[in-house]
């Protein structure tokens, strides 16, 4: 499977995706504007609460090509953050009170400067989260020691595992991904990740493998813990249930499978003002591989930079003016405000 970009798909274009999301449906039906829903609930303009997380996308290169990937990442993507841009991130962090750095991609570990960057972040005393796809650990000999490297720097590992069975995981993330993910989880467990008292945090991420919403995070976590322990002696800390947002490859799936209208209807009907009040863009700033600033990773992929009132590149990073900006919203934001809410840390509303 190739990325949408490599297929020269129209959906590889961010502007085209935004058009699809705002166009009326075949029978002239239009979903209410997301901004209107925020306004009705006194949340417009959406403003940051306290910015406490800097999420940095180290590039779109990945060893996997997952069907729901909002980044359209894959082995054919060459966009990658340079060491110079990483240095700008370090400079910005050194000057700011932000304590948590969330590294994502693609597979962030495939960036040639990844380890240097983690070491420098560690020296700055920041808490580092790595969005590890698990299979990268087994993809090449040079990555086999990643669990030890993560442990050395006290990195929090957050890994996608759509389900505790091979069929559903492989359907979303590619043939053989489940088996490799299980091996990688066992390697992480072996160095102490997820083990009680180790202080090494291993969290899993659940995305529905299809056109439906995630269930309660709490009950899913209990079920994942039971099944992974029983079947593979795997332990982990928390499970984050994340809703698939209707952009990029997942949008392509929704359209080609005939699920687009039904899924959007589900998201719109499940709009929850309490979830909207806790969306992740209120405490996070996202940095693109080329250093541009966005309200979240999804806006990044839709080429929707932060409002012009704030600096738009990491070299001009200024927490005060970023804290005052209005967050850029669009129809895809329904994905983060449905039901119990969705963020990179899972549900945004406690049950």
């Amino acid at each position: 499977m190739k990325s949408l970009a490599a297929q020269h798909s129209l959906l590889a274009d961010a502007a085209f995706q935004l058009d699809v999301l705002s166009q009326p449906l075949p029978q002239g039906r239009v979903f209410p504007a997301f901004g209107q829903r925020l306004q009705e609930n006194g949340l417009l303009p959406l403003k940051p609460s306290q910015i406490s997380i800097l999420q940095i996308n180290l590039g779109k290169m990945c060893n996997q090509v997952c069907k729901h990937c909002h980044v359209d990442a894959g082995p054919d993507r060459k966009e990658i953050m340079t060491r110079e841009t990483m240095q700008l991130c370090l400079d910005a962090l050194a000057e700011s009170t932000i304590q948590v750095v969330d590294l994502t991609g693609g597979a962030p570990e495939m960036n040639p400067h990844f380890r240097w960057f983690v070491e420098e972040l560690s020296k700055l005393g920041r808490q580092v989260i790595v969005r590890c796809n698990l299979t990268i650990i087994l993809a090449n000999k040079k990555y086999h020691d990643l669990p030890e490297f993560f442990k050395l720097h006290g990195v929090q590992v957050v890994s996608s595992l759509p389900y505790f069975t091979a069929s559903r995981t492989d359907a979303q993330r590619g043939e053989g991904v489940f088996e490799k993910s299980i091996k990688a989880l066992q390697m992480l467990n072996a160095v102490g990740y997820g083990q009680e008292g180790s202080g090494l945090i291993l969290d899993l991420v659940y995305n529905p493998a299809g056109a439906f919403l995630p269930s309660s995070q709490q009950s899913l976590e209990a079920e994942f813990k039971r099944r992974l322990q029983q079947g593979y002696q795997i332990v982990f800390n928390n499970l984050f249930a994340i809703t698939n947002l209707p952009i990029s490859r997942y949008l392509d799936y929704l359209i080609t499978s005939g699920n687009y209208e039904g899924y959007m209807e589900k998201l719109v009907n499940a709009f929850n003002p309490a979830a909207a009040a806790n969306v992740m863009c209120r405490n996070t700033v996202s940095v693109g591989w080329e250093g541009s600033l966005y309200d979240c990773d999804f806006n990044q992929m839709l080429d929707l930079p932060v409002a012009a009132t704030a600096p738009r590149h990491i070299r001009d990073f200024d927490l005060a003016s970023l804290s005052e900006r209005a967050i850029v919203i669009n129809q895809h934001c329904y994905g983060c405000t449905a039901g119990a809410g969705s963020s990179c840390g899972g549900e945004t509303v406690n049950p």
Binding site: Y163, T165, R168, P208, G210, F212, P214, S215, S219, E223
Partner: protein, 111 residues
């Protein structure tokens, strides 16, 4: 077939039954919502029961709703199919157990 007694879009109109009898509809939906809340049974178990019953009563709207509902509550395909087998076993058993009645009658009227 252009026309059919069942239209998948009608599922979303379920709430419209209130149009002709608001009070009874409201009482039903309150009850319905309460039934499916987590209680002595988990929401997933309730969704699987609903899926099985949907097959037993052969309600296409309910099958549609509770297939997605079961997936959303975290059920896997094997659990969902097992639930349907439970419904099938009960339906099959219900037919077969009446065979005893038939046998009783046969024995009553035969020499």
């Amino acid at each position: 077939m252009e026309k059919s007694y069942y239209d998948p879009k009608d599922l979303a109109k379920f709430g419209n039954i209130a149009e002709f009898q608001p009070l009874l509809a409201s009482k039903f939906f309150d009850y319905y919502g309460e039934v499916f809340k987590e209680g002595a049974l988990t929401e997933r178990e309730k969704a699987l029961i609903a899926l099985a019953v949907a097959h037993a009563v052969q309600c296409p709207y309910c099958i549609d709703a509770y297939t997605t509902g079961s997936l959303e509550k975290g059920a896997d395909e094997a659990q969902m199919m097992e639930a349907i087998h439970v419904a099938a076993a009960i339906k099959g058993g219900a037919a077969l157990v009446h065979g005893v009645q038939m046998m009783n009658k046969v024995k009553e009227v035969m020499m």
